[in-house]
């Protein structure tokens, strides 16, 4: 078995890379896959706290790379899933402590025992980003339906193509269907028209994500009913496995006056 290395990146900060990394890793593990998540945000680690594993850190990625511990010692086993692991980032170093070839070496050591390696990239286009994409087989670009996030995603697409690591896939996070229906938010089609890459998932804005994150439980793992984000993450995992899952219908019914206006204007 040869693991697939998936890097989650974005360019823009704060669009949801860490949340997506945690939930994708969890959802894949829930399907019975062997998954290790790696936090590549050296110096600003967060994957540990979003996964709720912050109290179990003994060794981190930099310890592994600098030879202070064996790879297995840095792998924190998430007890909630059969085969889900985290290699946390170091908190007291920075991105220069790791090189792209270090990342490739670490992933090579993991490839034969895992099904998936999910790498949480830091924001930006510098060393941390380059570290995170170096070992990638598939890059997922996370964006929000918002001007600065989409602009940065476009730049990242260009950089990924230049590094010959494409084609990347797009994940639109924090969509608010009601705002899209009112014309106050870029729609999925708007974003796809502009960025012109394949879509792998759409995650709606959902309060349950914050509630779960507060508790250190990736929302994909929670048994709360009615969380559309939870279902959306699980769908992305299935698509990664090759299943052709239709995108969730997040549209809301439009009000009577809006429907009248649209009808009079001759629009659908």
């Amino acid at each position: 078995m040869n693991a697939k290395v998936i890097t989650i990146t974005s360019g823009k900060g704060g669009v949801g890379k860490t949340t997506v990394s945690a939930n994708l890793a969890a959802a894949l593990a829930m399907m019975g896959r062997k998954v290790v998540a790696i936090d590549a945000d050296i110096g600003l680690r967060n994957l540990d706290v979003v996964m709720g594993l912050e109290n179990r850190i003994v060794y981190d990625l930099v310890d592994v790379i600098e030879g202070r511990c064996r790879l297995r010692q840095a792998m924190i086993k998430d007890k909630r899933q059969p085969e889900l692991y985290l290699i946390p980032a170091a908190q007291t170093r920075d991105k220069m402590a790791v090189s792209p070839s270090d990342m490739v070496l670490v992933c090579d050591q993991l490839r034969h025992e895992m099904d998936y390696i999910v790498i949480d990239s830091p924001a930006g286009i510098e060393r941390g980003f380059r570290n995170a994409i170096a070992p990638a087989d598939q890059i997922i670009i996370v964006t929000n339906p918002e001007v600065s996030a989409v602009r940065d995603a476009d730049r990242i697409i260009g950089l990924i193509e230049a590094e010959e690591k494409g084609p990347a896939k797009l994940l639109i996070n924090r969509l608010k269907p009601a705002m899209v229906a009112r014309g106050d938010m870029l729609s999925i089609d708007d974003v796809l028209d502009i960025l012109a890459i394949d879509l792998i998932g759409v995650i709606p804005e959902d309060e349950s994500i914050l509630v779960s994150s507060n508790q250190g439980l990736p929302v994909a793992m929670s048994s709360v009913n009615g969380s559309s984000a939870s279902q959306a993450f699980r769908n992305v995992a299935q698509r990664l496995e090759g299943a052709d899952i239709p995108f969730l219908d997040l549209t809301q019914k439009t009000g009577l006056m809006e429907r009248l206006r649209l009808w009079l204007a001759g629009e659908n």
Partner: protein, 87 residues
């Protein structure tokens, strides 16, 4: 139909403004051509052509357009029409 939007008291929606602005800014980002650079190129072009032909310098237009992921610099240079004088 924009008059219909005005009847119902709506200006252009912010979502479509966002899309238009993004398309414009990405044309510049992708081609590494800054808006300031275009002004400089325009001045250069006016100078070069005015040396050889009489042109209507005030109405020269230079635009960056895009089809797909390819960009083009398009120049429109109106020529000066000599006004004929009555004899």
């Amino acid at each position: 139909m924009s008059w219909m939007n005005k009847l119902f008291g709506q200006k252009e929606k912010s979502g479509s403004v966002a899309k238009q602005r993004l398309q414009m800014v990405l044309i510049h980002d992708r081609s590494e051509v800054s808006p300031g650079l275009i002004e400089q190129i325009k001045d250069d072009i006016i100078q070069v052509i005015a040396n050889r032909l009489a042109i209507d310098a005030e109405n020269v237009k230079i635009d960056l357009t895009q089809s797909g992921r390819e960009s083009c610099l398009v120049a429109e240079i109106p020529l000066q029409v000599n006004a004929r004088k009555r004899a």
